[in-house]
Symmetry: C2
Subunit: 306 residues, 2 copies
């Protein structure tokens, strides 16, 4: 029996329609697909985002699994396994088993664990990963996919997403994401830490002068990357830990990325991280972020700042 999705216009489930998920759902809606989600117990913000994107709330995971042809898991990394387990419990037996696509920023080992959970429950699995911002303008966001059931997922290329299938089993798409996110989010963490250290040590002024002289491009990158980071910092903690685990699994040091997780955990301890991406007031500058963190660390650790 051919298990692939027969429906010309697959119904796509999205868990959960947060910042990234609702933007993905909106694209698919705008390209004519029915997009559903399960919002029992979710926040008012998530409900509002879903409604604005035209994503239909079917209630619980049971209804979602019974109705969707495929489900895209788009979550905070730390929730990926738990949600896969909930979906697995809800999977109905049916002629064309549900395709579960894990799109999260997680280690290949975590992907393989989720693959085991889904296939043991009779579902089909594909590994996905997202590179780029929530897809609000065409061409900026790519979905990578690997594993056995990527062809069905790649059909979303007809409905506004950009899906690239790469060689290899489930885990490879996520491996790619891990290496990519290491440079972007690792660099942002590194800069956040050293600017905070410069404030704490009392050398922020001369450092800024020296950066203007000899690191103009880096300074520009810092000023572009840091202001948008705080609302994402708490969710990036888990992502950095997944990268650390990915690197350790091939014999490389986990410490750089474990340290990046520490930096985002620190940001998450402050009110900086309470901003939502929808907040209309201007975001903090890199300098303001560093000063806030330096004060927070000083107050928390009771260390002499210089």
């Amino acid at each position: 029996m051919n298990q692939s999705i027969r429906n010309d216009r697959p119904t796509v489930g999205i868990v959960s329609p947060g910042d990234m998920g609702h933007a993905v759902g909106r694209v698919l809606r705008e390209h004519g697909l029915r997009v559903i989600t399960a919002l029992d117990g979710r926040s008012e913000r998530t409900r509002t985002l879903a409604a604005q994107a035209g994503i239909e709330d079917v209630g619980g995971f049971g209804e979602l699994a019974a109705t969707a042809d495929m489900v895209l898991s788009i979550l905070v990394p730390a929730e990926a396994v738990a949600v896969a387990e909930q979906m697995a419990h809800a999977l109905p037996v049916r002629p064309a088993p549900l395709l579960f696509v894990d799109c999260n920023a997680i280690a290949p080992a975590t992907v393989r664990r989720i693959e085991g959970i889904i296939t043991a429950a009779g579902g089909r699995f594909a590994d996905g990963s997202i590179i780029g911002p929530p897809p609000r303008k065409p061409g900026a966001t790519r979905f990578y996919a690997s594993g056995e059931h990527t062809a069905d997922f790649a059909r979303l290329n007809q409905f506004g997403l950009h899906v690239l299938v790469i060689d290899g089993p489930a885990g490879q798409a996520s491996a790619l994401k891990m290496c990519y996110a290491a440079v972007t989010k690792g660099f942002t963490a590194l800069c956040t830490e050293l600017l905070t250290a410069a404030e704490a040590l009392g050398v922020a002024g001369p450092l800024a002068d020296e950066f203007r002289l000899s690191q103009a491009a880096t300074l520009e990158q810092i000023n572009r990357a840091l202001p948008g980071m705080p609302p994402k910092a708490r969710r990036w903690v888990g992502e950095m830990e997944e990268i650390a685990q990915t690197f350790a699994a091939v014999g490389l040091t986990p410490q750089m990325l474990a340290g990046a997780a520490d930096v985002y955990r620190l940001v998450g301890e402050t009110t900086l991280a309470d901003r939502t991406p929808e907040e209309p007031s201007p975001p903090p500058t890199a300098q303001e972020i560093a000063q806030t963190l330096a004060h927070h660390v000083y107050a928390t650790h009771k260390k002499e700042p210089s």
Copy 2:
């Protein structure tokens, strides 16, 4: 009694005339100063570099301390304290005490330790740090200085060096260097690790494609930064550890920079690090470095590379 250097043309001692030290000595020589060093027990390469730069070998630290008006300590970070102790033992009692300028990439706490060693022995101390490459072309290299005795060190501005005095006690010039080096060498370590991981995981090809699409500037930085890194990797281990210590002292995570030290230690385990900066053959590409490291890690750790 005014203890500052009276000689219009101070005699400058340099320990040791390695890659950076001999270039600094050459600049001072070319601007008419007598530049001396103590090469008892040093390598043939160091002797050759010193001779080429016109730096005079006076033999041991006793002769150096007796002859120089100021000594610049320019070393591998791990040697900074030991050499300061040797200099302290050699310091003669004299009307204008020797000025010892620590120019190494070390933590403020290490600077203060060295300051204690030198001043307890009757010497004068200034904290210095070097930002930029060995000074072969004007304008590319800056010496930062802080502490009580910076004025004498800043006189080298008349002899071809660019010395900038910053506010604060000994330790501040080095604090600035620590924050600066965190971004340059931390970023290089991060990129070295993630490219190695991509090779080990079998996603180097798609990652390079994605970098060309969305991280062209980063890719350019990688291709500029990595090829020159291996000959310096072993000496950067200690520098990364000094930065980790600097950050920990103000309550920030030491892990990112401790991880960077791990990465440079790994590079140092391979023949990549046996190159000298004078080696005429073309340096390895970023890809070749990553492939060499991935093979080394695979062979050493006996882990499955994907």
